[in-house]
Amino acid sequence: MSDKTAVNLTGVKESKGVWLVKVPKYLSQQWDKAADKGEVGKITIGKKQGKTEVRFSLNEELTARGAVGETDASLQVPRDHPFTMHTVGGQTMAVFSQSEADEISLEGMVVHRAECRPVVNDNYMKLKKLQLKESTKPQRLSQQLERAVTTIFKPVANHDFNLEHERKKKSEGKMVRVERQLVLDMLFSAFEKHQYYNIKDLVDITKQPVTYLKEIMRDIGMYNSKGAHKSTWELKPEYRHYQSAEEEEMQTA
């Protein structure tokens, strides 16, 4: 990921100023429910007694806490939200956006910070109480059962797993020894993929009895009892020809 994306600086060049507004969670949740057009409310900016006042009022249809379209009388999100405005004193903030194609562009500079505050009334208090109750509920719960669970840990004549195992054995039968050359071919192709193998894995791959396989391995390979690849088998040096990555050639005796 060493590609450096050139930042599109048009936003900054035009000195586009933006507002950074902190919005309460419940409000943003309501906004998420907005219709496609995306209209959520209205902002009124006015001057009262020389002070700039900014208010936001939520749209009617978004006040319900339930699904959109319902006006649940019980709980309603407050509509009126005055903004508290601050200037950006100690920080220079810019806004950059990242598109899906990893294109970065600088959208603008933050000129004002604002906090969206609800008007505190009974309705709001009720809402907050509900929120609090929800958040204090523990995520995990211990329940007491009326009756003991009797479906598991019953004594069984033969466990399911064992039964399956025996069935498998019967169907597949004992592992038959095939021609030595065939086994060698299988082994060599396996060792082409990886250098170190456990004997169990080899048995799995070749489907040969362990003794037979060990005999063959003793012939063409060696056992690592110590070191990084413990208790693994690998081919003898004269049989292997590993290059750093892909292609290798195995040479038979």
Binding site: W19, K25, G38, I45, T92, A114, Q195
Partner: protein, 532 residues
């Protein structure tokens, strides 16, 4: 943007839209006000994720394919981790820091670290005003704090600790980075002489500034200096800049700070010098032994002789080292002898029998300093020169001195040899036989060949390196400097002369009677001397 209402009391309404298309993710790029970042001055900028943490997190195995890989290794590793409950945090690209480069290569660099917990309890929205007057609100996805990255060199942690230790002494802080750069250069091109010359030149320039820094090192030579190069550079620097003003200033400041320096020194470990063996702290040792002697009462000189013998064993270790050095310069046979003589001379010097006590103090002091530095033998010019200068024992004296002194000593030895053969021809056959064992090559023809009287001043003939207890030798010693009987005995050690301690004592007594030297009392000790 902050459009107010047109009239004083009226207000304007704008609709707020939250666009639903979420193709673009908005983030905040926050700078510190102190950095005075002005985005409008940027001509071009590049930004990318800092992926350096990936290899720490990734822990990718080296071999994915055949060589070196194991069958089912990954699964096994995973199972193992689960068993031990090792939870490795995922490497999330989203959380990686940004690297922002402004105005190309020569411009500024910023690193943007993600600020956590921004979107947890409250959501941030960016309100922008559209041309139609409505506001559009975009949710903020992440917050990154961008800090400028230093392009200048900084000290590493170890170096910073070093400098912290020297904070009381270092006056010139500009030289710290300069020295570091020089050090790096030296390390980088060791066999490149040009570089060294360059650094040498720089030393001259920087020596002026670094001079006061270096002086501190020299004065605190007992302190453990981690950089030997510093001290060596310091020597050069000091010598070069002695006349410059800076060093004067530095010295003055250093003197002012002496008290604080002492405090700083006390901070260092106390037990550093405890276990070090210090040899020959001058006057005291010999003064203890002198009252025993008094007059040349030979009977009591037995234990003395043995003591000296034991002392000589201590010396022999030093001698061996000197031997190794001198073998390069001298022939082997003489190499064995002259360092012995040199050692003896040195011991004689340092044991305090001297005209001026200052010299001996210096001797003792430097000797102790020498021995504190334990085995730095190559530099140790432990050659008390045959001449009157005692400078040979100072460290840093090149070993060239040793060659010249050894030449004269060789001559002296040869003189002794001839003198001895003249006076004690037959009586020294047995010791000669003993000496034969030590130096068979030169000795065998010598006694017979040189029994013919030769002038004692034959300096050219290389002789055996035995020290003969002859009147000539004693006379020479006493002419050169006043000596006590103990010192004389030290000169003619039993090992070297082949005589037993009793014999040495007797012979020496006879010689002294014959010579009848003048006596002088120095430091309550009887010294003999001759004037020629």
């Amino acid at each position: 943007m902050t459009s107010l209402g047109s009239s004083s009391s009226s207000s304007t309404e704008y609709t707020v839209r939250v666009p639903k298309n979420t193709s673009k993710k908005y983030n905040i790029m926050a700078f510190n006000a102190g950095d005075r970042v002005n985005c409008s001055t940027w001509t071009q900028a590049r930004m990318e994720r800092d992926m350096s943490a990936r290899r720490i997190y990734g822990e990718e195995e080296s071999a994915e394919g055949a060589a070196g890989s194991e069958f089912g290794k990954k699964q096994r590793e995973e199972a193992r981790r689960k068993k031990f409950g090792i939870v490795t945090r995922e490497f999330k690209v989203e959380d990686q820091p940004w690297i922002l480069k402004v105005n190309g290569k020569a411009g500024k660099r910023f690193k943007g670290l993600k600020k956590g917990g921004v979107t947890e309890n409250a959501s941030y929205y960016i309100f922008t005003q559209c041309p139609d007057g409505a506001f559009e609100a975009f949710p903020v996805h992440g917050w990154y704090n961008f800090t400028p990255q230093a392009k200048h060199r900084t000290l590493t942690a170890e170096e910073a600790e070093e400098e912290w230790g020297r904070r009381n002494k270092v006056v010139n802080h500009f030289s710290i980075m300069l020295q570091r750069r020089l050090r790096e250069q030296e390390r980088g091109c060791e066999d490149d002489e040009d570089e060294n010359e360059k650094s040498g030149k720089k030393k001259k320039k920087g020596g002026g500034r670094g001079g006061d820094l270096r002086i501190h090192d020299l004065e605190d030579d007992l302190e453990m200096s981690s950089d030997d190069s510093d001290s060596s550079m310091g020597d050069d620097g000091e010598s070069k800049t002695k006349t410059k003003k800076d060093t004067g200033k530095g010295k003055a400041k250093k003197k002012k700070r002496k008290s604080s320096d002492k405090e700083a020194l006390e901070d260092s470990d106390d037990g550093d010098y405890e276990g070090l063996e210090v040899d020959y702290m001058s006057d005291e040792s010999s003064s203890d032994e002198e009252p025993e002697k008094g007059k040349p009462s030979k009977a009591e000189e037995h234990p003395k002789g043995i003591d000296e013998a034991s002392e000589s064993e201590e010396e022999s270790e030093e001698e061996k080292q000197n031997e190794e050095e001198t073998k390069e310069e001298e022939e082997e046979e003489e190499g064995k002898k002259t360092p012995v003589q040199v050692e003896k001379k040195k011991k004689k010097d340092s044991s305090g029998e001297s005209e001026s006590s200052d010299d001996s103090d210096i001797e003792g002091g430097t000797a102790s300093a020498l021995f504190m530095k334990k085995r730095t033998p190559p530099k140790r010019g432990g050659r008390g020169s045959a001449g009157s200068s005692r400078t040979g024992s100072r460290p840093g004296t090149p070993s060239i001195d040793s060659a010249t002194t050894s030449n004269t000593l060789r001559a002296a030895a040869s003189k002794l040899e001839q003198g001895k053969r003249q006076t004690q021809g037959p009586s020294t056959d047995s010791p000669a036989a003993k000496r034969l064992k030590m130096e068979p090559s030169t000795q065998s023809p010598a006694p017979s060949g040189k029994s013919t009287p030769q002038p004692p001043s034959g300096k050219s003939t290389p002789s055996s390196s035995d020290v003969q207890l002859t009147e000539e030798a004693v006379r020479r010693y006493l002419i050169r400097k006043p000596m006590t009987t103990k010192d004389l005995l030290k000169k003619f050690q039993t090992k070297r002369t082949g005589l037993s301690s009793e014999q040495t004592v007797n012979v020496l007594a006879q010689i002294l009677k014959r010579l009848n030297p003048e006596r002088k009392n120095v430091n309550d000790k009887m010294h003999f001397y001759l004037t020629e």
